[in-house]
């Protein structure tokens, strides 16, 4: 999974994804300390991630491995909201 921050939303009314009520989040990739990388990905939100929360995004075909997205054309999905990251025994990110 990659780390990213929820920085916005992407709205589309004409799509062939076919998931009712699907909301797409604009995710900016960041490192484990939360430093933003100016690299964006649109991800389907399964966990109700809020603004500025650090999340884990799963990319590729595994994005289809949930009941809601099975055989849907999705290749990026928010799979978790990060509470805390520690690196070499010191906490470098806390929600």
């Amino acid at each position: 999974m990659i780390l990213g921050k929820v920085v916005g939303t992407v709205v589309s009314s004409a799509s062939t994804i076919g998931i009712e009520g699907a909301s797409f989040l604009l995710i900016e990739k960041c490192n484990q300390a939360g430093m933003l990388k100016n690299d964006y990905v649109v991800a389907l939100d399964m966990v109700g991630a809020g603004k500025d929360e650090m999340v884990m995004v799963s990319e590729g075909s595994t994005a289809r491995e949930t009941p809601l997205t099975v055989s849907k054309p999705v290749d990026a999905m928010v799979v978790g909201i990060v509470d805390l990251i520690d690196e070499n025994d010191n906490i470098i990110y806390r929600k």
Binding site: V7, A14, S15, Y40, V42, P73, D75
Partner: protein
């Protein structure tokens, strides 16, 4: 999924039979804040009927085959949505109704 702008079309007559009748669009990845192109282009199969200069996002890899039009086709990049709005930190960075063509 990655955001991009439709910048052109690609026509190919020598291709596998099952790809007949499917539009290939030339799309350019964009930075969703400045809405400027990144100079990185991809040929994508169109499953939503996207037009020139429209902002879209696409699925790549095996997920590109899971739309009705691209099912069973040898594509690894399919446009799956036409974008209406992009909002970042509470402000629109793109509005389809205000976009100048």
């Amino acid at each position: 999924m990655i955001l991009a702008r439709v910048v052109g079309t690609v026509v190919s007559s020598h291709k596998p039979r099952e790809m007949d009748g499917i539009a290939f669009l030339l799309i350019e990845k964009i930075d969703p804040v400045t809405m400027k192109g990144k100079g990185d282009y991809v040929v994508a199969m169109d499953s939503v009927g996207a037009g020139l200069n429209e902002i879209v996002f696409y699925a790549s890899g095996s997920s590109a085959r899971f739309t009705p039009t691209t099912d069973g086709k040898p594509t690894d990049c399919s446009i799956i949505a036409i974008v209406d709005f992009i909002e970042k930190n509470g402000a629109f960075t793109y509005r389809k109704d205000k976009a100048e063509d």
